[in-house]
Structure formats: structure tokens, C-alpha cells
């Protein structure tokens, strides 16, 4: 009996570990696929990094909006532009420390010039920056947002 229990625990362990808050790598293609699938969903995609003070300040607003509007077809995706080498050392510990509830990714693209163009041609390449997407409509904002500004942007976009 003890043995069975041990095997069951051993079997479940990876699932427990995986269900913990993580950040996954995402390419622009994967992001676009994801957006294309959710046609009736509004995506708020925030680009941030663990070293960016205004971004960190702003993250709580995105978390709050995502939580408050749980019943709406809204998906908040937090995409970190930290260097890939920082995923395990900085990004995942940061998610755990801040107990982030939104989905978190780390951008998996090598050519920076190319990916910022693909997100929005007006993007100068600084963060925080936020993209609103619903169906084929997009709105890109390259500045810090207060909670009220974010809620207002969402309302007017939606």
C-alpha cells in the first residue's frame, strides 16, 4: 500500500510543479496564433521587464483589471522582454514574489528590430508598452498607464 502511495505521489509531482506560476517563452507567431483563435476576446498585451521600474508599478493595474473584469471576455497577457538568460534567474522568481495571476510570457525573438515592427510600426522600442487587440482591431500605447487610464482605454477600445 505504501508503495502505491509513493508511486502516486511520484506520478503527481510533475503536475504539481507544472501548475505553479511559470513563464513560458513565446514567439510573435505564437502570440499572433493565440490572438487569432480568440476572436470574441479582447487581449490586453503588456510589454514589461523585471528591471523596469515604471513597468512594475503598472503591472498591478493590469492584474487588478484582469481580476475585476473576470466575467468579461478579456485576457491579460504580460510579456516580458527580459533577456532570455534571465527567465529562470529573474522572471520566474519575480512572478512568484509578486504572486502574478495573469499569464506571463517571455518574448522569444532574436531580431529586436523585426519583432518591434511586427508588434506595432510606431513602437520606438521602449517599455512599458501596451497593445489592445480584438479581432482585427489593434491599439498600441507606448507609455505608462495609471489604473484609471488603463480602465478607460479598455472601455473605449471595447
Amino acid at each position: 500500500m505504501k508503495n502505491y502511495l509513493f508511486i502516486i505521489i511520484l506520478f503527481c509531482l510533475p503536475f504539481v510543479v507544472l501548475s505553479q506560476k511559470q513563464a513560458y517563452l513565446i514567439t510573435i507567431d505564437e502570440l499572433n496564433n493565440r490572438i487569432d483563435k480568440g476572436t470574441d476576446t479582447t487581449y490586453i498585451i503588456n510589454f514589461w521587464a523585471t528591471w523596469c521600474a515604471p513597468c512594475i508599478k503598472e503591472l498591478s493595474h493590469f492584474e487588478k483589471l484582469g481580476q475585476q473584469l473576470k466575467t468579461e471576455k478579456l485576457k491579460v497577457l504580460l510579456i516580458s522582454v527580459d533577456f532570455k538568460s534571465q527567465l529562470v534567474s529573474s522572471v520566474i522568481p519575480f512572478i512568484k514574489r509578486k504572486k502574478l495571476k495573469s499569464e506571463v510570457f517571455l518574448l522569444d525573438e532574436e531580431n529586436q528590430q523585426e519583432f518591434i515592427e511586427r508588434i506595432d510600426t510606431s513602437w520606438s522600442g521602449s517599455i512599458p508598452a501596451t497593445l489592445f487587440v480584438k479581432n482585427n482591431r489593434r491599439k498600441f500605447i507606448e507609455k505608462d498607464l495609471t489604473y484609471d487610464e488603463l480602465a478607460e482605454e479598455y472601455k473605449s477600445f471595447n
Binding site: 532570455k84 532574436e110 531580431n111 529586436q112 528590430q113 523585426e114 520606438s124 522600442g125 521602449s126
Partner: protein, 204 residues
Amino acid sequence: MKKYITICFTFFCFFTKAQVITIAPGKIAPDIKLLNIDDKLVSFNDYPSAKGFIVVFTCNTCPYSKAYEQRIIELNNKYAALGFPVIAINPNDPEASPGDNFAKMKQRAKSSKYNFPYLYDKGQAVTTLYGAKNTPHVFIVSKTAQGNIIEYTGAIDNDTPNTNPGKTRYVEEALSALLNNKKPAITVTKAIGCRVSWKKDKQG
């Protein structure tokens, strides 16, 4: 009437402050005369034998600037002797970004052994004239019969973490063209990095 003027002026201020426009290649490079970390003023005129300059807006605190620091030193090592020295300018307001104040700039230049001037843009006038947006933001300037001309604006290369050996080295490619009396093929890229920390009443 006065009220209208005030409204117009306020709107104008808001508008100009909200938008920093990066100077375009082909335009005259605005003169600089800024305080270096050795407490002496530096301007283009201090380099009579230079063919041009690699002006880099960079700072102490930004992780992108830190990632590029060694590459900026190497650019000066390679191109100063060929006539294009590096002139680094810290665009950040020291109140908005205390880690970038003049004392800290001196420390950074010393500990990282900068072999080029590192200038403090007090009041951010030069940053505004060039329209530097993020750090690091490069402006390659060449001396011509028409004056100092902007030849290239943007990033050093397209690989901040410096992990891709096949990266495109925009600044080196532009300089190599200029040294062969040609125009750079790519004259504008995006200067991916940290947004310039503007003085409180001003937003980039």
C-alpha cells in the same frame, strides 16, 4: 483674446512636450557643448582632425546601456583612430533617475574605464534637439562641406544580449560605408532600450 492665446500656448506646450522627434539623416547635427566627467566642456570643435562622430545617448542605469557598454568602448577603440570617435551623452534627468546623476556618471566612467567623453546634458536641451528617445540611441555624424550631417540614427546592432554571432551591426556597417566615401545603406533603425527619463514636466 488673451485667454485664447493662453489656451493655444498651453496646447502647444503640451504638444511639443509630449512628442520628441528624432532628427532625420541628412539634417545638420545640432552643436553640442556639454560638461564632461572631467569637468571640462566638450564640443565637436575640439576634434579638428575627426571625420565625424559616433554620438551615443546612454546612461548608467539602463540594462540595455549596460549590455552595450563594452560594445560602445570597442566602437571607440576601433573607430576613433579611423576618424570617428565616440561621444557619449547621458540624457536622463538626475531627479527622475538619481542613478544617473553627475557624480554617479563619474564613478561609472572610472569603474568601466571609458576611453571617450561622457557628457551630462543638464536641462536635456541636446537630448531634445537630437530627439533621443531611448538609451542607448546612436547618432552617426559626418563632417562635410555643408557642415556636420546626421548619417545614421538608431541601434548599435539588433542583438542586445549579444548572443547571436550573425547579428546585423548597424553602426559598424554605416561607418564602414562612410569610411569608403559611401552613404550607409541603412540610415534609421529603432533604438530599443530604456525610455529617456525626462524632467518631471516633460514626457518623451
